[in-house]
Symmetry: C2
Subunit: 346 residues, 2 copies
DNA sequence: TTAATCAGTACAACGCAAGAC
DNA sequence: TGTCTTGCGTTGTACTGATTA
C-alpha cells in the first residue's frame, strides 16, 4: 500500500493522486469528476467525496499534464501586429468577454514592424493552442498556418478562402466616406497608412481609389513605408508630403486609422493649417479619443470589441464543432464630425 | 531496430523520437541539443546531425511535455485590470520587447470591474508560469498570490513588502502638479478616479491631499465608485459632480488617468465651460492623445513602456536567480499644457 | 592506480486522460 | 461503477564505457 506521495519533492502542488487518496478513490475517478464525465461511471456519493477533497486540498488540474494527455491545450492565441494601438485593447476585451475562463488568452505580437516568420509561427504551434485568432495578417503569415488548428482571421479581407474570417464592411464605409468628401467639394484626396502589406490597409486604399474614381476624384498616397500604427510617424508623413499634396490641390487627407489621423491632425496644426478649412482629415476606427480632438474627427467607425467577440464565437464554434456562418461581416459606419464638416462647398 | 514511429495516430506532429531516429541518436541526445546542454555530453558531429534532422523535420519542442517534465513553463503571465486602456498597450509593448521569444506572454484580465478571486488566481497557477507580472493589484489579490512563483508588482505602491515592485515616483509627480496648480491660483481641487481599491489610485489621491494641505488647498472627490478606466464614466462623474464642486469654488479637476481627463474635458465642454478659464483639468499617463485634445492636456507623465520593460527585466532576474534592485522607481514628470495654462492667477 | 572528463543511452518521472477491463 | 494501465513527449538522473591526466 503506497502512502500518499505528498511530500515527494516540494511540499507544494496538489495532484490528483492526493485528492484520490483523500477521497478514497482512484486517480481515474478524480479525473472523471473534474471533467464532468461521471455519467454512469461514478456514484453520487463518490462524486461528492471527490468534490469535497478537491475543495479541501484546493486542487487544480495541471495545465501541462492535461494538455499533454489530451493533445491540445485550452489556450487561445491572439496574434496581433501591434498591441499598443488602443483598437486592439477593444478587440482583446471582446475576446475575453466571450471566451470566459474556459480558455486562456495568450498574446503574441509579431513585434514592431516585423513580418512574422515561419519560425515564429511554429513557436506558437508548440503550445498546441485550442485555436488561433489572427488579426490583420499578411500573406506570408497565412501561408505558414498550421492547418490542424482552429483558426479565425480578423479584419483580413480577401482571405475568405483561407480560413474563417470576421471582416468589416469596409466597402460601404469607404463609399460613405468618399461620398461625404465629394459632397463637401473635395476632389483631390491623400491617403496615409502604415504597415505596407497588411491586407486591410491596402484594401482601404483600393476601395478609396475605386470609390473616388467613380466620382472623378483622385487619390494621392503618402510615400511612407511605415510598419507601425503610430501617431508620430503619421505626423512625419503628413509634414513631408503636404507641400506636394498642396501643390496638387489636395484638400482632404484620409488616414488608415484614427491614430494616423491624430498624427496628421497634429502635423497640420503645427504647419499652421486650419482643419477642415485648409485640409479635412478623417480616420478609421472611431476610437473614443476622436470625440475630443480639436476638431473632433470624422471617421469610419469599426466596432473593435464586436470584432473580438464575434471572432471568439467563431473560434469556439470551430473548436466545438458547431456550424456557423464562416464569414460574418460587421458594419462600418461613417461618423461625421468637425474635421470634415464646416468646409464650405466650393 | 524500431522503425520511425511516424504515422502512429496523426501523420502530423514531429517528436523528439523522430528526430533521434533520423539523426541516429537517442532521444536524450536530442533533448540535450535543443536545450544547449551539449557541453561534454554530445560530440560536435552528433550536434550537427541532430540540428540537421531538426531542420529537416521542422521539429519544435512540445510545450506541454516540456513544461510537465520541468515542472515549470515558459509562460509569463500579465494580470491587468483593464487592457482596453491604451496605457496597458504601452506596458505590453515594453514587456514583449524585453522577454523576446524565450518566454511567451499570457494575458489575464480580471474583467471589467471584477475583483479577482482566489479561484481565478488558482486558474493561473495551473499554468505553472515562469513568472507573474501583476499590474495595479488590490490587496485581496495579493493575499492569494502563490509564493513559489516569481512575481513582480507593477504600479503597486505600498506593496513593497509583498514582492518585487516597479513603481512610479508619484510623490514627486503629484508634488509638481499641486505646485503648478497652486501657482496658477487654484485652491479648491476636485479628484476623479475609478477603480476604488486600486492602491495606486488611492495613493494618487492621498498624495494629492497631503500636497494640497501643505499649501492650504482642499481636495474634493467625485462620488463615483467606478471600477473602470473609462472615458464615458468619467464624463458622467464630472457632469454629476460639477454643480456641487462649482458651488464650493472648485477651479481645477485632477483626474487619475488621462482617459478620465478626456472624459472630464468632454463633459466640461458639453456643459459650456471653458478650459482652463472656468476649470483646469489634468491627468496622469501622458498618452499620445493628450497633445491633440482641445485644449492639450496637462498631465503627469508615467512611462508605461518603461514600466513594462523594467518589470520584465526584474522578473527575468528573479527567474534566473540574478540579483537586482528589488524596488526600482521610474520618474513621473509633470507635463504642462494648455488645459491648465492660460488661466490668469487670481 | 585513481580520478576526472567526455560521449552517449536507458529509464523513471512529470500529472493527467481515456480505453480496456 | 469504478480501477488498471498505458501513453502523451520531455527532461534529468544514473549509468556505461572509454580516454586522458
Amino acid at each position: 500500500m503506497p502512502e500518499t506521495p505528498a511530500t515527494s519533492r516540494r511540499a507544494t502542488h496538489v495532484t490528483a493522486a492526493m485528492v484520490a487518496a483523500r477521497a478514497g478513490t482512484s486517480v481515474a475517478t478524480v479525473s472523471l469528476v473534474v471533467n464532468d464525465k461521471t455519467k454512469g461511471r461514478v456514484s453520487d456519493e463518490n462524486i461528492e467525496r471527490v468534490r469535497q477533497a478537491i475543495t479541501d486540498l484546493n486542487y487544480i488540474v495541471d495545465h501541462a499534464a492535461s494538455s499533454l494527455a489530451r493533445g491540445t491545450s485550452n489556450i487561445i492565441l491572439l496574434v496581433t501586429p501591434d498591441v499598443s494601438n488602443p483598437f486592439f485593447g477593444r478587440v482583446i476585451s471582446g475576446i475575453q468577454a466571450e471566451i470566459g475562463d474556459r480558455y486562456q488568452l495568450l498574446l503574441s505580437t509579431t513585434g514592431e514592424g516585423q513580418i512574422p516568420t515561419a519560425a515564429s509561427v511554429n513557436q506558437l504551434t508548440a503550445l498546441r493552442p485550442a485555436g488561433l485568432l489572427i488579426d490583420a495578417p499578411n500573406d506570408a503569415f497565412l501561408r505558414d498556418l498550421p492547418r490542424e488548428t482552429a483558426v479565425v482571421l480578423l479584419d483580413a479581407p480577401g482571405d475568405e478562402d483561407q480560413a474563417a474570417t470576421v471582416n468589416f464592411d469596409l466597402k460601404s464605409g469607404v463609399h460613405d466616406l468618399v461620398e461625404h468628401l465629394h459632397e463637401l467639394g473635395h476632389r483631390q484626396i491623400a491617403y496615409i497608412a502604415g504597415r505596407t502589406g497588411t491586407e486591410t490597409f491596402l484594401l482601404r486604399r483600393r476601395l478609396l481609389e475605386e470609390s473616388a474614381a467613380a466620382r472623378g476624384m483622385v487619390i494621392h498616397s503618402a510615400d511612407n513605408s511605415d510598419s507601425l500604427i503610430n501617431l508620430d510617424r503619421a505626423a512625419e508623413a503628413f509634414t513631408t508630403s503636404w507641400p506636394e499634396w498642396h501643390a496638387r490641390g489636395v484638400t482632404a487627407v484620409v488616414c488608415a486609422t484614427d491614430t494616423h489621423a491624430y498624427g496628421a491632425l497634429q502635423a497640420a496644426i503645427n504647419l499652421g493649417l486650419r482643419v477642415p478649412e485648409d485640409v479635412a482629415i478623417t480616420g478609421f476606427d472611431n476610437l473614443p479619443y476622436s470625440t475630443i480632438t480639436s476638431p473632433p474627427l470624422t471617421t469610419v467607425s469599426l466596432p473593435g470589441k464586436e470584432l473580438g467577440r464575434v471572432s471568439a464565437q467563431q473560434l469556439l464554434a470551430q473548436i466545438e464543432g458547431r456550424e456557423v456562418d464562416l464569414h460574418p461581416v460587421l458594419p462600418a459606419r461613417l461618423i461625421r464630425r468637425a474635421s470634415t464638416l464646416g468646409l464650405s462647398a466650393n
